[in-house]
Symmetry: C4
Subunit: 277 residues, 4 copies
Amino acid sequence: MQIITDELARQVIVARPAISHKGDFGRILIIGGSQQYGGAAIMSASAAVYAGAGLVSVASDLSILASLHTSLPEAMFIDYRQPFVQWAPTVQAADVIVIGPGLGLSAFALLLLKQVLQAAQPEQTLLIDGSALTLIAREKLALPDAQLILTPHQMEWARLSGLSIAQQTVANNQAALADYPKATLVLKKHHTEIYHQTQVSQLMIGGPAMATGGSGDTLTGIIAAFCGQFGTNYQTISAAVYTHSAISDQLAQKQYVTLPTQMIQALPQFMAQMAHQ
Amino acid sequence: MQIITDELARQVIVARPAISHKGDFGRILIIGGSQQYGGAAIMSASAAVYAGAGLVSVASDLSILASLHTSLPEAMFIDYRQPFVQWAPTVQAADVIVIGPGLGLSAFALLLLKQVLQAAQPEQTLLIDGSALTLIAREKLALPDAQLILTPHQMEWARLSGLSIAQQTVANNQAALADYPKATLVLKKHHTEIYHQTQVSQLMIGGPAMATGGSGDTLTGIIAAFCGQFGTNYQTISAAVYTHSAISDQLAQKQYVTLPTQMIQALPQFMAQMAHQ
Amino acid sequence: MQIITDELARQVIVARPAISHKGDFGRILIIGGSQQYGGAAIMSASAAVYAGAGLVSVASDLSILASLHTSLPEAMFIDYRQPFVQWAPTVQAADVIVIGPGLGLSAFALLLLKQVLQAAQPEQTLLIDGSALTLIAREKLALPDAQLILTPHQMEWARLSGLSIAQQTVANNQAALADYPKATLVLKKHHTEIYHQTQVSQLMIGGPAMATGGSGDTLTGIIAAFCGQFGTNYQTISAAVYTHSAISDQLAQKQYVTLPTQMIQALPQFMAQMAHQ
Amino acid sequence: MQIITDELARQVIVARPAISHKGDFGRILIIGGSQQYGGAAIMSASAAVYAGAGLVSVASDLSILASLHTSLPEAMFIDYRQPFVQWAPTVQAADVIVIGPGLGLSAFALLLLKQVLQAAQPEQTLLIDGSALTLIAREKLALPDAQLILTPHQMEWARLSGLSIAQQTVANNQAALADYPKATLVLKKHHTEIYHQTQVSQLMIGGPAMATGGSGDTLTGIIAAFCGQFGTNYQTISAAVYTHSAISDQLAQKQYVTLPTQMIQALPQFMAQMAHQ
């Protein structure tokens, strides 16, 4: 099993071409949030913006509109309770779709998830997180032909794979992932593992300072932004996961906990460190 | 009477185990806020998040939803005007419940308080603050069999105990606390005192720079986070009270007043100082 | 005419007594804001909180509720469209009332102003600013028997006094102020002048970097907080006016403009500098 | 073709006269924003405030009211869905009107644009950006007799001018601009070009770190504030464009992306650097 190092991050986070415009750095659509978990969508979107995504839209509950425009004026808002057909063009135009952060398990969440799974196209990256994974496991939903990224923690992976946490060995995880041949699996745990077909690698950094609500939501935004800028592939996803933990480790030298909003603020500087070397 | 020192804070605020996840650091539920006093619930929840609580939910008035998701996307929101049965699972799942900050004295506040007192379980920590204490005194409400923490200032303690401020001697306070044998009393005053059964200790730090609205709300969040992470006991509560004042003293070297939002921001660094030594 | 120096500010901004609580530092009520000018009330209240006021309430339009609780959780909110009788207790309990910032000139604003003028008590400090001054001039409203502070800019003073800007000489201003014998006049202009009965003094600091929307609103909050903490008198008001401009001058060494939100943030440190010397 | 240097910025950004008030630094009206793109209007207004504009109003959708008063209490709000006649006085009183940021392409946006184009007066500066340019091109709207500033990116200019991006040579752009003889054209691209009648100049700074959503909205606010303070002319507009990119370049030494909210915060210090030399 390969170890993910900062070398990889430095290879992925390349200096931007001088002649470029925001369209070159990815159109990201975050679908998530709800009255109860509105902050999750905001953290995911904030991470995407601060990690360099060109254009970020958030499809969410109307109750988070004011919070989004206040916290992150750089992002655009879509009311996800509109008829899907009205905002389907935004779904189709996205390079990367994130579904799940703060979405919850309501009937509406399930309906929305089904519509998005149906709409996703082969060339699009679709990152599925949190409650969306739980819904997929519970409802046995088929995954679309898209560039899939799954970001479960161990319990969510247990629901998806049928493997108890004790059973989640590398071999078993690889076998279970065969059901999703196009997917990359980011299995969040102490020393997160990343799987894609026969590839497996592991993160040896990241500490307990990041064990706080919203940490996973933040990761989804970083992965989305990286895929939007550097192309969706195993290296890009691994570098995003590395970046998330490396920032926490830097902050944790002086902080007992490293909160998502702090990690998000640190993204532009961390990425400059990686790119300039 | 024992003096609470930074030694105690260093003993309580231990380095986190490397293998851990947010569930290990406490599920906190803050019940408070109202149209008039919405900020109180936000400050309590913010303090809990920045003091390291794993998962923080706020049950409050809908009017604070946008402010919460903007100021503290890390927290979850529950509309406390829903029928109690609908969010009782969140109450039951909480390791630490805080009731009171900004709750007010309305008929609804009283109803809610009664429901929470009834729902609290012996293994749960229940911190009662502010107007909730006033309601308990006025309505002579019985306290539940839970790990109780009471955080009155002197006037609120007078209402609860029947002791005028002049009568609030250590002996009298201990005698009055006998009515609440499972409770720890944090009596907020110049040189705050902490009582539990026969134990009494006193804080000799903290100054007038923290005499500003919201200071007490902030304290509730710190105590809740500490109990969620380090276990509810006399040491933990004392260390939380110490932390609150020590941060103010640090900031007061350069500030005439130390505002709650500033103290909250300083929590992760202060706790790292305590833990690394 | 006396010059206001930092010596005065150092005399007024004294170290706080060790044994004190938030009630000792003033109950401030800001009445202002409207859908169009909501930020004015928030800036006034923020200045009051950061300048050390013990307890700050804002009576305003419901449309600013979320912004207030987000920007300044330390403050309390009152919906000023409630029947006045319902929140009259808050008006009566205030040590210092500020009316005007962002209030506008609507019929409702006039009604509210009349109610507040009627409710003000001799021992209360009543600071009248902005559109409230214009309404008083236009409607020829009588001022109450209270500790009055008027903070017009030159055009507003022209409306109140009948003196054109060219006519606003010290002698004429003193004569005009005789109509308001209990009032202190803060005449805002390049080198602001402060009048009370036979006293006149002038500010020689402050520069064009503070010529930006909201600067006057911020001043009202500083004056209110100072009166709440140090007692309402000519010295206190002068020290507040000095503080406002001195902070701008400090920031203007590195900034082309000094925005209200930046000046507000700088208050606790500036006041510590004054108090520690 | 002339190159825009920091020399020009230093000539334009002059020290403020000691005796001055906010009215001397321009009344700016930003017309834009919508539920989906509310942040755009906030970023434009924030840039205007931080770049020194005296008074900034935002006419927008009610859904951004709370975000505006939270993020930028210095600005005033107007509900642009009111009958136009009700807020026409604000339009008439503005020195500089910005229309477009986040306005969108709805029927309402078109109606509003037509009303504003009709209301604009010869002595007013009218900056037209984003979707307002697209609407003008699509609906072949006539431009008013005002001091016009057009800020299209290359695709928007293609729609306006009929020139494909490949055809956008200096000569062709000059020829196309002859249709708008009073207009200054800021053609946003790698090495932005500025045209006015026979003048052409080019920016050689600015890099890919600013290729992120909201960058153009921020530019509109800086240009508006500069015109409000320094007078609308070719030099002022060029200095504003220079300032926008120079700030990004400064931040990009340590950041992979330079976000609009960060660039806005940096304006007062950058302008002080220019003015003090």
